[in-house]
């Protein structure tokens, strides 16, 4: 269970999260929605442990573990995975090499045996196929020259390989056409399990047609302003974020 209590966080000295409370039970999928600037991405980065995101108050525990006490590597090992809105490019490093380094680093830290190259390749090919990822893409340098869809599918591939228990998806739908969105959503849905929790951050309701959440939380000015069932997303689709400090246009 993820428990966020009274979380305050600054970016460049400016307070973005202002006392956020959230409970995400194990096995559930919650959506985080909200207007631009409400703190959605900040929450994602704070959970993953990015340097410039300074937590000034509050607590975050994952299955009783104090996440804020861990460095980003430690959080990944503890089962936290952030699917980036803008995945980074690393020139010269083959995607496959990166994936294998990452998988084996995490496995080792979790006390599991590292995968041999043939074993890894077998797993990789299988998972890649599910996400409609061409093996050729995995030979290219990590995210370099990838299309928006390729980058996002690559994120979900990493999520699949690393077997996290807490998945945070930061606007994974942005920049995706409807076909790519479906592939990504299928990938995410395949990972839903009673042992795994997911936080799906999105600006638009569209994604939630494919990944149906157990709960929806609307952020406004760094706090959860409203929570509800999936119907809340539908309501926002019609009314927009006007009441949450966003523009009145429908999403």
């Amino acid at each position: 269970m993820l428990e966020i209590r009274n979380l305050h966080a600054n970016v460049d000295g400016r307070e973005i999260l202002k006392g956020l409370d959230l409970t995400l039970p194990t096995g559930e999928v919650h959506a985080i929605m909200g207007p631009n600037g409400s703190g959605k991405s900040t929450l994602a980065y704070v959970l993953a442990g990015k340097d410039d995101y300074e937590v000034t108050e509050g607590s975050v525990t994952w299955n009783g573990v104090d996440l804020l006490a861990l460095d980003p590597t430690g959080r990944a090992v503890a089962g936290v995975f952030l699917a980036f809105q803008y995945p980074m490019e690393i020139p010269g490093v083959a995607t496959m090499t990166f994936l294998r380094s990452s998988v084996n680093a995490v496995r080792k830290a979790r006390g599991q045996e590292e995968l041999s190259t043939p074993d890894f390749l077998r797993v990789l090919k299988e998972k890649a196929k599910d996400l409609n990822i061409d093996v050729e893409m995995l030979r290219r340098p990590l995210n370099v020259g990838f299309s928006g869809g390729e980058k996002k599918r690559n994120e979900i591939l990493q999520m699949t390989l690393l077997e996290p228990s807490l998945c945070v998806l930061d606007e994974t739908d942005s920049g995706l056409d409807i076909d790519a969105l479906r592939v990504v959503a299928d990938g995410v849905n395949a990972l839903r399990s009673p042992e795994r929790s997911m936080l799906v951050i999105t600006h638009y309701q569209r994604l939630l047609d494919y990944i149906v959440p157990d709960r929806v939380h609307v952020l406004s000015d760094g706090r959860v302003a409203r929570s509800g069932g999936p119907e809340l997303a539908m309501e926002l689709e019609k009314s927009g974020y006007a009441e949450f400090g966003g523009e009145a246009t429908a999403a």
Partner: protein, 490 residues
């Protein structure tokens, strides 16, 4: 990526002060008295039982050296070297080469083991059945003590031996080519080397012969305060091909150690020489104390038409590196290549690059240089590309990339371009970048440690050059790169 995993374990085992290869082998040495004068030059020559012509050559170089000044144009700073406070000759006790590995000093074999003399080479040294064919001419403190596969090479007509042996057995070749690429008057350190060179490798590949194996030399500086003056001479006759690997490590030492080697390559018509170096000498401790001074002159002469010389270097060690493996593109249609990875960390100073001197028509050259600076280090690329007035259609392509890690290091690029022929086409691209915090965070969030993340990103950065290393060097080099960058983040 097992290389990275392995690296992290290794890195954990050492802290900055514990240089991985910092140990001393106790083998009795025969050492000349400290200091340098005509008698020492005579002593060295006599020790090696050299002919008069070579002694004369040395003495002439020595006289010349006395009139020369140390070069000061490089972007490196160090206390003045007292050349009278160094030893100029030291040889392991046994002067007779062993007939088999059983006769090799066990201490020496142990040293190789500690060095992790890697992979295939150790098998070769151990005489393992079916070991791959990599000939190792191990230079241990100045005198070759182990030479393997000489016979098989001989079958192909390839001569691979120490310079001293070559002087005895192939004097006509040595006389013809020694100093023909790097004259004994060339520069302060090359001239010093000419006077006092101890030993090194000699390779001659006869006309039309494709050398059947990679030739490899490992050597390390061993006896305390002994300057190491290697002399290497490689000749590929018409249509011949040879690939030569040089890798080295050195024990830990407080005193600065001088290393002033000379490497000469000669490629005749249609010949090709590929020369690869992995240099991992002691870089000094975390305060910049100690470490090797590496002042090397390496030059290849594409003497024949359509000949080709390719330098690949991985420079990770030494306190100071002053090194410009160069190509003289004399033959028409000849080609020169320089691929370099230069990594500086701690207080290391590197001033390295190349010279591509286009003399013949339709000559081409290619330079890919990757400099990585971390810690408080300074990393300078200095490269000359020139076209003589008769070098019609000379072409050069240069890529010079620098990567900075942290904010206390420096990367500098000093290109010199001189085209005296209007038909020359010279291209130069240069970039400087930093490992971004976002890239690092991305890797960390995937469970990699900072060390692993930096190693991965840097290995990606140098990939273009890594690809030019012989296979057996690639994996080793990736590890070495990771080890070299230890402590560069955080």
């Amino acid at each position: 990526m097992p290389a990275v995993q392995d690296t992290v374990e290794r890195v954990k085992e050492i802290d900055v002060d514990q240089y991985k290869y910092g140990f001393v082998t106790e083998i009795e040495s025969v050492t000349a008295p400290k200091g340098l004068n005509e008698d020492i030059v005579r002593f060295i020559s006599a020790k090696k039982d050299e002919p008069q012509w070579l002694l004369d050559w040395r003495l002439e170089a020595f006289k010349r050296w006395l009139t020369m000044q140390e070069p000061e144009w490089a972007n490196v700073h160090y206390p003045k070297i007292d050349f009278q406070d160094l030893y100029y000759y030291s040889a392991p006790k046994s002067t007779e080469g062993p007939k088999s590995l059983d006769e090799v000093d066990p201490e020496l074999l142990e040293t190789y083991k500690k060095l992790g003399i890697p992979l295939r080479e150790q098998e070769v040294l151990a005489g393992v059945q079916g070991a791959p064919k990599v000939a190792v001419d191990a230079v241990f403190d100045s005198v070759s003590v182990v030479t393997t596969f000489k016979e098989e090479l001989a079958k192909a007509g390839v001569i691979f031996c120490s310079i001293s042996e070559a002087v005895k057995n192939h004097p006509e070749l040595v006389k013809k080519y020694l100093g023909s690429v790097v004259p004994s008057t060339d520069n302060f350190y090359a001239t010093l080397n000419s006077a006092v060179f101890s030993d090194g490798s000699f390779v001659y590949v006869p006309e039309g012969v494709h050398c059947p194996m990679e030739l490899s030399t490992y050597f390390r500086i061993n006896a305390e305060q002994t300057g190491q003056f290697e002399r290497t001479l490689i000749i590929a006759d018409k249509g011949a091909y040879v690939s030569y690997l040089e890798g080295c490590t050195a024990p830990m030492r407080d005193e600065n150690q001088l290393h002033a080697a000379v490497v000469e390559l000669v490629a005749l018509e249609d010949a090709e020489i590929k020369y690869s170096t992995v240099q991992n000498w002691y870089p000094g401790d975390k305060n910049g104390k100690g470490g090797i001074f590496n002042f090397v002159t390496k030059r290849g002469d594409c003497r024949g038409d359509r000949s080709k010389i390719s330098w690949t270097q991985v420079e990770t060690g030494s306190a100071i590196t002053w090194k410009y493996p160069s190509c003289i593109l004399r033959g028409d249609g000849s080609r020169g290549e320089f691929y370099s990875i230069a990594i500086s960390n701690g207080y290391q100073q590197i001033d390295s690059g190349t010279k591509m001197i286009h003399l013949g028509k339709n000559t081409s050259s290619r330079i890919i240089s990757k400099g990585i600076a971390a810690g408080h280090s300074n990393n300078t690329y200095r490269g000359l590309v020139s076209a003589h007035r008769r070098a019609a259609n000379a072409r050069n392509f240069t890529v010079c990339d620098s990567l900075l890690i942290g904010d206390k290091c420096g990367a500098h690029t000093v290109p010199y371009i001189e085209a005296k022929n209007a038909s020359a086409t010279f291209e130069h691209e240069a970039t400087t970048s930093k490992i971004s915090d976002d890239q690092l965070f991305y890797c960390l969030s995937r469970g990699l440690s900072e060390e692993e993340a930096v190693a991965l990103i840097v290995n990606g950065f140098v990939r273009d050059v890594l690809q030019h290393l012989p296979m057996e060097f690639m994996a080793e080099t990736q590890k070495l790169i990771s080890i070299s960058l230890e402590g560069s983040v955080g």
